[in-house]
């Protein structure tokens, strides 16, 4: 019960915050770009919409940029902004004088970040669907997409991509709890992501935890010939567990709490 109350309290804090706006903007950015591109290529739309694999094409175009760049960067920013709510408003000291266990506080805030990430996935998927449908509503010559949405496959891929971002969530959370200066976790996050992006074709690129989504996408799509020593989701979960345990331990042993 105390965890639920703590979660509710944390959830209230994100209301109207920069982090909550970033979730919406970040999730709808790629679908909005796709819509612009579709409207720009209006004359090709009837042919595209008649294709059986229409949804897979839209899905692939959106997820590529999302997995490789937007999702990791968005998470780096969003996690930092969530913890900055406390730093910026001198909130840590008040939070730590409430009658809650430190474990509850740590995981309630982490759970909020989790749910916000889920929101991104939901909004992003919904955005892709709406963007796919809009041209057929705007132009008589464009039919409703002919192909069926492969729900099962998309759901499975969503789960995979969500697991792939867990190391970013946990390591950014660890860093954001340790450093008051927003630029430290932000800089470290960008550095790790950039190192991964530069070494994407290297045989050990999977060791960089911030590119697991990207690797999963492009290896799965046959765009990169990379032999992974293990299932990339399993590796993501191992990183996630390690970073979460380390973050929790560092938080619990902090000498000063706000």
């Amino acid at each position: 019960m105390s965890f639920i109350r703590s979660f509710q309290s944390e959830w209230l804090k994100r209301r109207r915050s920069l982090a909550s706006w970033l979730i919406v903007v970040g999730a709808l950015f790629m679908p909005a770009m796709t819509l612009l591109r579709l409207l720009n290529d209006r004359e090709k739309l009837p042919e595209l919409y008649a294709q059986e694999n229409f949804w897979s094409v839209i899905w692939g175009q959106n997820w590529q940029s999302m997995n490789l760049m937007l999702l990791p960067i968005g998470i780096i920013l969003a996690v930092g902004l969530v913890t900055q709510i406390e730093y910026k408003n001198n909130g840590w000291k008040q939070l730590h004088t409430t009658p809650q266990g430190l474990t509850t506080i740590f995981f309630a805030k982490f759970a909020v970040i989790f749910v916000m990430a889920l929101q991104v996935f939901l909004l992003f998927n919904l955005g892709m669907y709406i963007v796919g449908v809009i041209p057929s509503l705007l132009f008589v010559s464009v039919p409703y997409p002919a192909g069926e949405i492969p729900f099962g496959l998309f759901f499975e891929k969503n789960v995979h991509y969500f697991v792939n971002i867990l190391p970013i969530l946990s390591l950014q959370y660890l860093l954001s709890l340790q450093f008051k200066n927003f630029l430290v976790p932000l800089g470290a996050g960008f550095a790790i992501w950039l190192a991964g992006a530069i070494s994407l074709s290297w045989k050990y690129s999977y060791l960089f935890p911030y590119l697991h989504g990207g690797i999963d996408f492009i290896v799965g799509g046959g765009q990169l010939d990379l032999v992974l020593p293990m299932n990339i989701q399993l590796l993501s979960l191992i990183y996630f567990a390690a970073f979460t345990v380390a973050g929790y331990a560092l938080y619990m042993f902090k000498k000063e709490r706000g």
């Binding site: 209230l12 804090k13 209301r15 109207r16 408003n89 001198n90 909130g91 730590h96 266990g101 000498k255």
Partner: protein, 301 residues
């Protein structure tokens, strides 16, 4: 019963910097305790240790008779606090700020409006707290601290940023909380004058050590003992000789004869002596140091 009792509380930020050195704080239940000291004396560090915001290094902290280390959550359930600058979520309204804590404390929803009215923020509506003045933020912090009807209120320099009217309002509010709800209040300040009309007990800390701890009247007695009594007479030289005969040390002051450490009976006796020895006494005046002076003297000593 004591609400707060610390024993030998010692804290170091580094091996060379001892911030607190054997602090024995005793705050009696139902009283207002003024924790005084200049900036950097160790007040905030002490309060942060009491609230568990700093990891304790040495000493004991007992609150409501329980050890902070073993009963932290139970103890914090009955404490309201404001440490240094206000903790206010600027993107939320005053009511939303309180709701954040109301959820955790499980206080009734009606309490939110109650405390907002109590601190004079009932009309802030949809205005975001980030747009509040410092005084309003301070009052919202007090509202947060009072939300769950605590038994003990710990306030670190709560009048910072308040205008004189705000300080008076805050003083009245705290007095009312003590009288009507029996709340124990530990309030820190670097100005005695700011809290002398409010507190029952005083603790003076300087360079990490408690230099004085007792009731305000005990501090006031110190003030009386160090006050000067000045005599304006027709013949100061003769008066001085009479004082010397009675082994009373004198300090000449602006053409008057002044001495210290005399109670009212001794003053009357000296007056009688002077008159009997043919010296006319035109005026007797007690020159008291204000409490602020005593506070500074304690620190300097």
């Amino acid at each position: 019963m004591r609400s707060i009792e610390t024993q030998g509380l010692t804290h170091r930020y580094s091996s060379t910097e001892t911030v607190l050195n054997g602090i024995d704080l005793q705050v009696e239940e139902g009283r207002i305790y003024g924790f005084l000291g200049p900036n950097g004396a160790g007040k905030t560090t002490t309060l942060r240790l009491i609230l568990g915001l700093l990891k304790k290094q040495a000493g004991e902290i007992n609150i409501f008779g329980k050890r902070l280390e073993s009963d932290r959550i139970e103890i914090l359930r009955e404490i309201g606090s404001l440490i240094e600058s206000p903790s206010i979520y600027g993107h939320l309204t005053a009511a939303e700020n309180l709701r954040v804590f109301q959820t955790v404390y499980q206080s009734p929803a009606s309490r939110t409006n109650e405390v907002l009215e109590l601190v004079g923020l009932g009309e802030t509506g949809k205005k975001k707290a980030g747009h509040f003045s410092l005084g309003m933020k301070q009052r919202l912090s007090i509202a947060t601290a009072l939300l769950h009807k605590p038994r003990l209120l710990i306030l670190d320099e709560p009048t910072n940023g308040l205008d004189p009217e705000g300080i008076l309002e805050m003083r009245d509010l705290l007095k009312r909380l003590k009288q009507e709800d029996g709340i124990t209040i530990l309030i820190s300040s670097h100005l005695l004058s700011e809290i002398e009309k409010l507190v029952d007990d005083v603790g003076i800390i300087h360079k990490g050590r408690i230099l004085f701890q007792g009731t305000l009247s005990e501090l006031q007695n110190r003030q009386r003992a160090s006050s000067l009594v000045a005599f304006r007479t027709s013949d100061n030289a003769k008066a001085a000789a009479a004082f010397a005969e009675r082994q009373v040390n004198i300090v000449s002051q602006n053409g008057r004869i002044a001495t210290s450490g005399l109670d009212e009976e001794a003053v009357a006796l000296l007056n009688k002596e002077l008159v009997m020895s043919g010296v006319d006494v035109y005026a007797i005046e007690r020159i008291e140091d204000d409490l602020e002076r005593i506070f500074l003297d304690v620190i300097k000593s």
